[in-house]
């Protein structure tokens, strides 16, 4: 079992049928995105940031009921924001003859668990 050093996901690199499994990090969840924006480890595109700013202002002006999703959360849920160090173990083509196929994005690697 391996643990991805970027997203914390755990997986078996070889599946029960013996085939290879290629992990790729998920985009940030709403919880992770909110946290990353607070810590400024990710930044949104200008149009996305404008959308978020407008939702924040609307939530402050007319708050939604406690059992409803806030406008901010609705905006955050609509955004697909990848992790800055996203790993993707998939190969990027066959590579040179006789050489291992290059991996798309290894970044911070994995830890055996």
């Amino acid at each position: 079992m391996l643990k991805c050093n970027v997203c914390g996901g755990t997986y078996e690199p070889v599946l029960a049928d013996g085939s290879q499994y290629f992990h790729a990090c998920a985009p940030l969840s709403v919880v992770e995105l909110r946290d990353a924006l607070e810590k400024k480890t990710v930044s949104l595109r200008p149009a996305q940031q404008a959308q978020l700013d407008a939702a924040t202002a609307d939530d402050q002006k007319t708050p939604v009921a406690a059992d409803q999703l806030s406008r901010v959360d609705r905006v955050l849920a609509s955004l697909v924001v990848e992790r800055p160090n996203k790993r993707d173990e998939n190969i990027a083509g066959a590579g040179a003859p006789g050489q291992p196929a290059p991996v798309k994005r290894e970044t911070l690697g994995t830890t055996k668990v």
Binding site: D67, G93, A101
Partner: protein, 277 residues
Amino acid sequence: MADNNPAAWDSLRAGSVQRYLHGEETLRVTAFNAASGVRLRISGRRLDRAGGMSTFSDQLTPTTNRAATTFDKPMVEGWLLSVAVRIDAGSPADGQCYVLLELGLGSGNQFVPLDVLASDTISATRRVAWPGSALRGPLDGAGTVRTISGSTPAAAAEVSETVPTGARWELIAFRATFVTSAVVANRLPRLQLDDGLTTFWNSPVNINHAASITIGYQFAAGLGQSFSDSITNEFQALPANLRMLGTWRIRTLTGSISAGDQWSAIVYIVREWIEGA
């Protein structure tokens, strides 16, 4: 004709579909494979100008990452009578290993393809042979059905499974368990499909998932309407016959996800073909 034309006589003697080779040509075998433990056996028969028959037999062990693995066999002058590729070790299912037989000049990076002799998926019970096999593409077969265990995300993170490079998937069914923390909120899980950039399918579940509850979410192609056993299982539809390319993704998106919420036990069934890389 054959009596006064030695070349034509030779040709008739060797058969009607043989290839005359000058001896500069290369027989290239290219394999794209996803199954473990596969070794291919390449064998064939040749006839030289003196009428001598010879055979050859070689092995190729393809990688398991669907990238092209090649084997180059130098040819000698004479007639190439037949080539066959069979499984020497391993047991790939239809759609897991695809073989291409070519004649060309040079080898390695300098290989210049001239003729395609045969191309098809190969399994323990299906050989690829020239002459005999039709030229078929890697997606022409029935494919193979696989069960895949996905990555378990960290707490409060979403599920995301990516179609591997060189594969084509038809998503048949997907299952994951979602456990909510004690934080009071109604979570709204949904399954999304995207092409790596653009989300094109968004399937929200039909219930509010409250705090401290475990529910198994099951999505299947062919379901017309969502339903629930009201206790631990929720069933939702997937698009039918959707063929997903490499880099396309299967993801969850959970409304009101909380810091202690956990997705786990991600299992899905796909029909897989090999496209190669």
